[in-house]
């Protein structure tokens, strides 16, 4: 008799534990998604609805806010600048960072530990602050207010990640594959091109996308280093106090959309990268 009661009780606790578990997962998903949904409603509502009270909790699919955003003076060129800077950052961080990732995964060399530590340490500094002295330096070299100058700073932000991600990617490809290619008449370069590169390309793309997102989202350095050629984040920041609400929300939404897509594209690599960075 007492036995069955005990079993019932434990089954009961397990059931309630399960309910608690599932509802916590659901709550945490809602915690992430609902604020984004609210932004979506505001973006797809007419400017009058955005400032109305009380508000509807579903979008009315009115494109007036987005049209206003597209027509706002300087907005489209800011969007273009954002894309240019992010694309430059993407290319530079891979071209500069990937060779180092390869070196870390394939060679034992003196100073390797120190080099890795220094790369990790760069993340331990408030990097956007670097924009302050560079603003002066760029004026002297003619790089001020250019996409390239800003891309250089954003590359500094992205490079630790591109080195560490490519390091973990290259480590995932057995060196035996390369060695086999060498015995079949390839030299280091052709073996890399024919064997390693095709295997690594999706991962490299993920790492490039990550660099793109870092640059796309950066606010402080962009606001300090650009004046006429503002990026989207810098433009929105500069106009925060003066722009109407529906413009802010449409701008915020445009900022969020590529991030959503890109994180989805690189989700597999996020964890691999941090796993290796901690070891």
């Amino acid at each position: 008799m007492t036995d069955t009661v005990a079993i019932d009780a434990s089954a009961d606790t397990r059931k309630w534990g399960k309910v608690l578990y599932v509802s916590t997962v659901v709550f945490l998903c809602a915690w992430v998604l609902v604020p984004i949904y609210f932004l979506l409603i505001n973006t797809l509502s007419s400017p009058e609805t955005v400032t109305s009270f009380p508000k509807p909790f579903w979008p009315e699919f009115d494109l007036a806010s987005l049209t206003f955003f597209a027509g706002f003076d300087g907005m489209l060129s800011a969007l273009k600048n954002s894309i240019i800077v992010a694309a430059m950052t993407m290319v530079m961080s891979i071209v500069i960072g990937a060779p180092a990732g390869y070196a870390l995964s394939r060679f034992e060399f003196r100073g390797k530990g120190t080099f890795r530590l220094l790369i990790l340490l760069t993340r331990a500094f408030p990097l956007p602050l670097l924009a302050l002295p560079l603003a002066v330096l760029f004026i002297r070299t003619g790089l001020d207010d250019t996409a390239f100058g800003l891309a250089l700073v954003h590359t500094t932000l992205a490079i630790p990640f591109s080195v560490l991600i490519t390091f973990s990617l290259f480590s995932g490809i057995p060196i035996e594959l390369e060695e086999a290619a060498w015995t079949l008449g390839c030299n280091r370069l052709t073996a890399f091109q024919k064997v390693v590169l095709p295997l690594i390309l999706p991962g490299i793309t993920a790492s490039a996308i990550f660099a793109f997102v870092i640059s796309w989202n950066e606010v402080f350095a962009a606001a300090v280093l650009t004046i006429e050629n503002r990026t989207l984040t810098a433009f929105l920041l500069q106009n925060l106090n003066t722009s109407p609400l529906h413009l802010k929300f449409a701008g915020g939404f445009i900022l969020v959309v590529p991030a959503l897509i890109f994180i989805f594209a690189v989700r597999k690599y996020l964890f691999a990268m941090w796993g290796i960075a901690n070891r």
Partner: protein
């Protein structure tokens, strides 16, 4: 090419690049902070520290970090352990929980503005519940607590994801045998968490904390979007010196102060959570 030289050739581009755009700017910013027209001086530091907004912005930045970071550690640990025992839908849930990772602080500020603004969704919800019939201006100087809460929530919402990623990766490195052995000896889930997961997760926790704390001191755009000038923080003041006041020396001094605070806290965290030699996985 000679395999002894090749690795150095391969790391050369990164090294040169970081020297030019990482080390050199630091030298420059220090130079700028410590010099005025008359040569070496501490005038820039004196100027920024004596300004009436400095103590309040320092206090705000530290308070915000103190309120946000511990909460994020707890939340990220909870999420990471929940994901770890998930069988179905793990990838989907992980994707949803890491979405904020890709969202910029400015966009996060704007998202929470959509909730806390006078015509925002919080007002509409309270109206739906019958608490209020007129929209309340929540983000005003009369409601400093509400401004703080909005900024803290936006930060927790946005920046827990980076900790989650680091911790999930770290839990993945813990050998499953430890848990199996613990189960054989009848350890409860809580025991398994506190005696296996937590200690072995220390390197990841260290990384996550250092990164988060430093980013917390850099908070800027979330505050700009939600609080404006109502809630001064260090990074915002730096921006104001550089831009509104055109005072490069003062901005550089602020930058060095933020840097010093960041390094100080990094050292404290590294010391507090140090991994005993030979005890890593």
């Amino acid at each position: 090419m000679n395999p002894r030289i090749l690795p150095y050739v391969l790391i050369l581009p990164v090294t040169v690049f970081l020297c030019m755009f990482f080390l050199y700017p630091f030298v420059l910013v220090a130079q700028q902070a410590f010099s005025t027209e008359t040569g070496f001086s501490l005038d820039n530091f004196r100027e920024v520290v004596d300004y009436w907004r400095f103590p309040i912005s320092l206090q705000n930045t530290l308070l915000l970090a103190a309120a946000v970071v511990p909460f994020q550690v707890g939340l990220a640990l909870l999420m990471a352990t929940m994901v770890n025992r998930m069988k179905r839908g793990r990838d989907m849930i992980l994707y949803i929980w890491t979405i904020p990772l890709g969202i910029s602080d400015l966009a996060a500020g704007i998202i929470w503005l959509a909730i806390f603004d006078q015509s925002g969704f919080l007002n509409s919800m309270m109206n739906g519940l019958g608490v209020i019939d007129q929209p309340v201006n929540l983000l005003s100087y009369q409601n400093p607590g509400m401004v703080f809460l909005a900024i803290a929530l936006a930060e927790i919402w946005r920046a827990t994801a980076i900790m989650l990623v680091i911790l999930v990766a770290g839990i993945g490195l813990i050998p499953k045998e430890y848990y199996e052995a613990a189960e054989v000896f009848g350890a409860s889930p809580w025991k398994r968490f506190s005696r296996i997961t937590l200690p072995l997760l220390r390197p990841s926790l260290q990384t996550a904390l250092v990164l988060r704390v430093i980013l917390a001191f850099e908070i800027f755009a979330v505050v700009a979007a939600l609080g404006g000038t109502l809630f001064p923080v260090l990074m915002g003041e730096t921006y104001a010196y550089q831009f509104d006041l055109r005072n490069g020396g003062a901005a550089a001094a602020m930058a060095l102060i933020i840097l010093a605070i960041s390094i100080g806290f990094t050292l404290i965290i590294l010391r507090a959570l140090r991994v005993p030699k030979g005890a890593s996985i």
